[in-house]
Symmetry: C2
Subunit: 279 residues, 2 copies
């Protein structure tokens, strides 16, 4: 197989893996974790999880409690790191919301970042090929949290044939109007806002890019970033206007943390497994 | 209430708390986390969780997935830090297995450590009083992992009237014969091995200290520390010899990590809730 398993831990009746492989898109080694709930030969489908700012391949697989809900199925979950690492680019490690741990899942076009920060292609090409070629898995769904929720929506909406279903926790739905998104897109893509719109879920739906299956979103109402960065209601409005099916659960009292994710991850896993089984 | 809630996160239908209070035993501020699954006024029982080497109050409550299994009950779980912090004692932060994060839940009698490293008393007095006086909870069980499994066994066996049930993951059952235990006990208690035996589960049972209820232990067979540090089979032998009821699950393929704990935590929670209900 074209990846290396660095560590594995028996979990429920399966295994939690920490892996590394070489990426053609980022031209670096990239890490990912996975939970493989049964014999790898029996696995027939996968969910891709995209994490948020500051995270790496470890946060979700240790904190969300997802193993419990995949146990007994033939669906694995794969959780890539959130950016290339260790490139020593100018400004790469200066702030939590740009550079390392903060790729925003775009293909950078600006300056030094354009060479390696090709995370859109990394997910769509390298990770999907690893699933297909190395593991024989064609059936894939995508989900994520915050910056990774943005990633799941953008990658999912732009590749409707590739992903059977899309869900997100606390996604940044309109990054071109969010301080996090504006900073990142300026740094990775330059000043042309038209280029930014390719990576904006609100703008993609507004432009008529719809997916057949219902999109599932959970959003905590006590999330400190809801009003300033996430702006979930904008996505609800544009989906209604354009006829995109959306199930949006606004959850009273929940915040932006993994305590929120772990509460509702079971529903998201069921949602994806149902879609993956239909294919 | 005599403690401060520093942060709380809605989790399932309850709340995950991060708290701080002043300890008479350690003469420091001590931190703990808790999951309170329902209105605090309805809570009638508690499980104390003791963590292992290098951990603080956060590891278990973020990684074990325990909230899922306490949701809907009136039993909270409370998870204290594993040592006093920030005392600047000689050698306190030099190694992972002594000082900060490595109290071994003893009352230190040696040198500078004797003033604050009174973690046995901290659990038995301060934490129990917080449960009783501040929260009105009399019904308490105890469990832990590795060094915290050792702590749960020792505190539980020495205080049979205080704890309704005892369980452990991967405990150090005979620390006076384990490199970790020998280093810690020398540092905290001095050279007199007779003093060490007060904090050794094997020795306590051998000396006739039995508890009425069955003790539950889960141990991974792929645990890298099993042969050198944990020596679970010694405890099995002495329990059989002395007539202490023990349910020991040796788990094929599992290691020492939270991936192991999260797999079997549901069974341990059920075990404790059953005991707490009977009281």
């Amino acid at each position: 197989m074209d990846f290396e398993i660095l560590k594995k831990h028996k979990s429920f009746d399966g295994e939690t893996w920490f892996c590394e492989h070489s990426s053609n898109s980022t031209k670096t080694q990239m890490k990912f974790s996975a939970f493989v709930p049964s014999d790898i030969k029996d696995i027939d489908s996968s969910i891709i999880w995209l994490s948020g700012l500051t995270c790496n391949e470890e946060n979700f697989i240790t904190k969300a409690g997802v193993q419990k809900y995949l146990a007994g199925t033939n669906t694995l979950i794969i959780c890539p790191d959130t950016s290339p690492r260790g490139l020593n680019l100018d400004g790469e490690d200066d702030s939590y919301d740009f550079g390392s741990g903060a790729s925003f899942y775009v293909n950078a076009t600006k300056g030094d970042y354009s060479k390696n920060y090709q995370m859109y292609d990394y997910i769509i090409n390298d990770l999907i090929q690893l699933l297909k070629n190395d593991l024989g898995i064609d059936n894939v769904s995508i989900m994520g949290h915050s910056m990774g929720g943005h990633g799941a929506l953008v990658l999912g909406i732009r590749n409707p044939g590739l992903f059977k279903s899309i869900s997100a926790f606390s996604p940044i739905v309109n990054p071109i109007n969010s301080p996090w998104g504006i900073k990142a897109f300026k740094g990775y893509l330059g000043e042309n806002v038209e280029e930014w719109k390719k990576y904006d879920a609100y703008e993609l739906v507004k432009d008529g890019n719809l997916v057949r299956n219902t999109i599932l979103i959970d959003q905590g109402l006590n999330d400190e970033f809801l009003q300033t960065q996430l702006k979930t209601s904008l996505f609800e409005e544009i989906c209604r206007e354009m006829g995109q099916n959306l199930k949006l659960n606004m959850r009273e009292g929940y915040d932006h943390s993994y305590y929120f994710i772990s509460t509702f991850i079971e529903e998201h896993i069921s949602f994806h497994i149902n879609s993956l089984k239909k294919s």
